[in-house]
Amino acid sequence: MTQPITLTLDINGRTRTVALEPRVTLLDALRDHLALNGTKKGCDQGQCGACTVHVDGARVLACLTLAAQVEGRQITTIEGLAGADGGVHPVQTAFLERDAFQCGYCTPGQIMSAVACIREGHAGSDAEIREYMSGNLCRCGAYPHIVAAVRDVAGAAS
């Protein structure tokens, strides 16, 4: 009953077919089976946001999502954020310009979360950015620079 099942996943615009046990999370599928290691595993329990990806455009936690659950949905990871020309996303540029990281481990999750936060319209003030980015912890404490990076892009967009 825990035999592998064949899943067809739409990841970063590409169709990927994998055989996985039903209990495998989207996070483990990405990292261990699809060689997409940009999405990070921090707590593996929904408490840190390092594993943030987009499913049908909404930010979610890959560690609490079964791969089987997202068949037929559009999954975007940090690897899929770059434009068709391969250029980096404006939020990535802002993180570089604002030096919004130290060790970088939380950064892919922060960036995926920030892109969604801006798109949702939840980046109108520093207070709002802090509240709506609270699902992404940074053990290096780069928070002020992260808020600044999100503010830069949100401000430019509005």
């Binding site: 099942i5 039903p22 329990q45 930010r59 802090r130 609270s134």
Partner: protein, 327 residues
């Protein structure tokens, strides 16, 4: 996480049938179920994914009630402008819960069913004794670290706090849980631990929450949710209050008041003592503060959680005074 089989039923009836066996579990957002499966607390043999079912995510706001489909996500409900108008406490409870990512995943039905965050409950490998997990095994929390354990509704078997925010608002405004044709008042949907803390809801295996209805009322329209916690965001309540207020035509006599507490009790806790003490009274700070103390009638602490007995009435008073424009 133990292995399980995965099923994606095509209809609610098929889903109920597939989950009738006690070893099966519905999977909605997965933010409680998969978390607990990783802790070794939930060990489903069959997971029945209900997120692909259609027709269960509808939100309707009518003149007499708000109806939330069980599969509506927390973020959708929180952001719905009509809900902010008709029952702000519900929207505020949801938008202060968990994180943006979790709110995008988690559903209203799953939210009601979330389990306690009691650290002993969540760690079976280290703490075998837990009456909620293993009936009759004892309670590792009593005599342990209990800062976030309940002071209301506790029993000798279990003192675990019900952690949810939404349900606190639901019991304040007499919401009704729809389980197919069955109707259960929100207050009756959550059971006191008593001698059977393992039994948290009156649902039988295979019964599926389909919707939640919140009756319209002037108190619901003028309502708020105040949540106090150890860090400013992405944290469960140390104490919270959902309150609704209706003043009489004179603008100062309390006609209706609803008060429910979160973070301090074993279930979402309707504080009728506070409501009764204030109904018909003149809205005035000292009266409100004094009456709020009634919220803690029957409270029992276990040491480190004593602060909740001081904190909760202040949260109630501040929430009521804010609604009346006096805080």
């Amino acid at each position: 996480m133990r292995g399980f089989s995965y099923l994606r039923p095509g209809s609610p009836d098929e889903a109920r049938e597939a989950a009738r066996d006690p070893s099966a579990a519905f999977l909605a957002g997965g933010t409680t179920l998969l978390d607990l499966a990783k802790c070794g607390v939930a060990e489903p043999e069959r997971v029945v994914d209900i997120t692909h079912l259609s027709g269960l995510a509808t939100i309707t706001v009518g003149d007499d009630r708000i109806t939330l489909g069980a599969l509506a996500t927390m973020s959708r409900v929180a952001d719905e402008a009509d809900i902010r108008t008709h029952c702000p406490a519900v929207a505020e409870a949801l938008s202060q819960a968990a994180s943006a990512q979790i709110r995008n995943m988690a559903t209203i039905g799953g939210n009601l069913m979330q389990r306690t965050r009691c650290a002993y409950f969540r760690d079976p490998a280290t703490f075998p004794a837990c009456n909620k997990r293993a009936p009759g095994s004892g309670c590792a929390a009593i005599g342990g670290a209990v800062r976030n354990h309940a002071v209301l509704g506790v029993s000798e078997s279990c003192i675990a706090t019900y952690p949810g925010d939404l349900a606190t608002a639901l019991v304040a405004f007499d919401a009704v849980v729809h389980v197919g044709e069955r109707r259960i008042a929100a207050d009756d949907f959550f059971l006191l631990p008593g001698a059977t803390p393992d039994r948290e809801h009156p649902l039988e295996p295979g019964e599926m929450i389909t919707a939640i209805a919140i009756p319209a009322s002037p108190a619901a329209r003028r309502s708020t949710y105040l949540k106090i916690r150890d860090r400013q965001s992405y944290e469960f309540a140390a104490a919270s209050a959902a309150v609704g207020l209706e003043l009489a035509a004179d603008g100062r006599t309390i006609r209706d008041l609803r008060v429910a507490l979160g973070g301090v009790a074993t279930k979402p806790w309707r504080a009728r003592g506070v409501e009764d003490a204030l109904r018909g009274k003149i809205f005035e700070p000292e009266t409100v503060k004094r009456a709020s103390l009634a919220a803690m009638e029957g409270a029992v602490d276990h040491g480190a959680n004593r602060f909740k007995i001081d904190l909760a009435p202040r949260v109630v008073a501040r929430a009521i005074l804010t609604l009346g424009g006096l805080a």
